[in-house]
Amino acid sequence: MWEFLDKAGEAAMRRTRIAAVAATAALVLAGCVGTGAGPTGKRVAGDADIPELTWAMPGAPRSLDIAHALDTRSNLAIFAAFDGLLRMDADGELQPALATSWTNPDPLTYVYKLRQGVTFWDGKPMTAEDVAHSLRRQADPAEAAETQLYLTRLKEVAATGPDEVTVRLTTPDPMFKYVPALVWIVQQKEYAEAAGKSLGSPEKPGMGTGPYRVTRFSPADGVDFERHDGYWDTRPKVAKLAYKPIPDPEALRLAMMSGEVDGTFGVPLQDIRKWERTAGISMYYTRTISVNYLSMDVTTAPFDDVHVRRAIAHSVDRQGLLDPLFGGRARLSSSPVSSLQLETMVGKEKAAEVIGSLPTYPFDLGKAKEELAKSRYAGGFTVEVPYPTTQPWSRLLLENLARNLSTIGVTLVPKAQPDQQWVANIYAHKDLKLQIMRAGGGTPYPGEMLPMMFGQASAGPNGFNTANFADPELEAKLGSLGEDVAPIAEIMRLNAEEVPYVPLFEEDAAHALRAERVFSPDPTPWLAGFNWAIALKAAA
């Protein structure tokens, strides 16, 4: 659930035990809100086959085995080819896939009924043992799977019948129900065991039941897919799908412009003005569940003074930056909890009510000055703020903040750092002071991030409580997180009053597609649990 977009983010996620669909978070997109369209307006899907289609992403998959590829780019390739047990719909609801139904007889037991007559790419039928092994394998410590972070409470997985798999947990886990959609990717047991460590590599890309077979895979220049004709579900329209890495966003845009690439997910929002103006490209926007924020270490000077934190909160021109940083495709955030997750849980109205009642800190340098004057550091101070070089918007935000703070006597020096170093600093949990961060969960559950941001256990090395904001009362609230929204709302309020974290923006995700293609259905915030390749159609 935690996410620092791009490479840094991926790395961060995989290192922690924090539950999260890191990967997908980058483009985890929630309920299809505001689907934009190209200059000619929304198009309708036609019925024609697309013989070849090229999809581009900033990087190639590292592996095609979800156990060792828990990042956005790899996951997109995996979800295009393989099936999971379940899928997530546009509202974040779970839908049948390889499992036709499931039950949760007690908080520790999940029973899945499997679809019959499903065959692997090689024509062999899928068995319950294949399905069970696919998850069991990931929980095996010897496998050192990145997906283990979802499976810490997993006790056992067993084929309990020819069409039934049963999972048992050690303790209740409000988020386990999403695992079958997010990481339970079915691989043929025989193939996986034969491949061993090299499963997911170019030599042994994998054996699944999904709509596409992998014909070629290279971690350097992407994947080629070919339609699997024996697919159990709707036949996809694209016959041959190529997945290409293009790291430079500008090169990617040029490639799309020239028609060499048909589409991409996750266009940098800073660039969308440019993309919007590019002929022949339709843009699609969805909300996401990621929130970016400033974090201040409440245990070190000068951020141990709430007035200083409020002064900082008043100094960010969030409204003004909305356009230059995100092309207007973001909304101001007033809490570290994603509003989309909140809405998914309690509905729009209730969510708006909870959020509306929180105190806010509008951009007002006068008030910032007042707050600073009230603090113990009225004379101002100097602080260096690191940011990862791959995160251009954080540089712009910090430069804006630095400029504003300079008028009230505070010197802020933005300091670019290579991703890895920046991530390492966060992990080391030292010299945190002021940080610019981004959190993004993987499931629709709004309490997903809170233990990480406010828990006592996270206020140390390898933890993400970068504000070191923790006390027993808060700990108790975190302990009571469940299907009730109340403790979540209380933590939101506490944050708004004490401002260890200054919520900044909730970004949208922008996706681009050549105008002669359409998405049907449109992309949703829950892309992780969904086969996007099936949704690609020719425009009518």
Partner: protein
């Protein structure tokens, strides 16, 4: 006999250089910030099993020289370890990426030779003419322009504006690859062309001032003999040296050009690996680069040997 000794000496020197480089490269792991385990762990879960496995695999419990020896003997069998990022064999990753960079480097090198040598030669012979001044100024700008800026410009003009060339990817098959790599190769070649053209011009001016050229002309030798056998061959040595340097440096350029054109080569691999601190890959890349550079230098030496009888017969240049 002498030629063999000469070669033996050069190969020995190359081996020593590689050895020293390998030591420095190996030290990267120990010297990089954070403990070696942490670095090798990358983003993986720090399970005790994994840490133990890594410690055993990299012999972290052994003293430094032993570790180095162990690593070096692995390297000699082309075992650079596994990537921290993808857990793949480093050598596989390198092999996969080498292809594009070799193509790019050689393509650019061919461009350099095809453009720079005739340009420099003609400028050197027709010195102080408008043509000479044109070549000189163009070369000056070429040396000075950052390759990535040239790349971006080529990309927007010829790739997008005119649509003559594809704008990303390395292509497959010969013709396709040539068309894909033309713009990157040009971007990469610009600086090289400039350097080699300047060098060729200087060498030509130097040689044409020599007595043996005048004497050849005085004997009424045809112009093509004077230019070819005399001017070109005698200016070849400095030109080859600079061309070798350009070839060796093309990997630096590849780093910049590959990131501009989104090519999956060694250059972009280096940037990715460096920014994710994938030390084993960086080590492999560094050694490969050193080997390439040293290899190019050996080839340059061979050219000297072939071209200059003084080296063949007397030893030493």
């Amino acid at each position: 006999m002498f030629v063999l000794a000469f070669l033996g000496k050069r190969v020995l020197a190359a081996a020593v250089t590689l050895l020293v480089t390998s030591f420095l490269v190996f030290s990267l792991l120990a010297a990089s910030p954070g403990s070696p385990e942490q670095t090798l762990l990358g983003a993986r879960q720090p399970t005790p099993e994994l840490i133990a496995a890594l410690r055993a695999q990299h012999r972290l419990d052994d003293p430094f020289p032993v570790r180095y020896w162990h690593w070096l003997s692995g390297v000699l069998e082309l075992d650079f370890g596994r990537s921290v990022r993808s857990s793949r064999e480093v050598v596989d990753i390198l092999a996969e990426r080498l292809d594009v960079t070799l193509w790019l480097g050689l393509y650019a090198f061919v461009l350099v030779l095809l453009v720079a040598v005739p340009a420099g030669l003609s400028a050197g012979i027709r010195r102080d003419t408008a043509w000479d001044r044109g070549v000189t100024v163009t070369a000056l700008l070429g040396v000075s322009a950052p390759p990535f800026a040239v790349g971006l410009m080529l990309l927007s003009v010829f790739g997008v504006g005119l649509g003559w060339f594809p704008v990303f990817g390395a292509g497959s098959g010969f013709a396709d690859r040539i068309s894909h790599l033309t713009l990157p190769a040009v971007a990469l070649a610009v600086a090289g062309v400039a350097i080699v053209a300047r060098q060729t011009r200087a060498a030509t001016m130097d040689v044409t001032a020599k007595d043996f050229i005048t004497f050849a002309e005085a004997r009424g030798l045809p112009r093509r003999v004077v230019l070819g056998r005399y001017a070109l061959r005698n200016s070849a040595l400095p030109v080859i040296t600079s061309a070798g340097l350009v070839l060796a440096y093309s990997l630096t350029g590849a780093v910049l050009v590959e990131s501009t054109f989104a090519l999956p080569g060694l250059g972009s691999l280096l940037v990715e690996s460096v920014s994710t601190k994938d030390i084993p890959v960086v080590q492999g890349l560094a050694l490969l680069t050193a080997a390439l550079v040293i290899g190019v230098n050996l080839i340059v030496d061979l050219c000297y040997l072939g071209l200059d009888p003084r080296v063949r017969h007397a030893g030493g240049v």
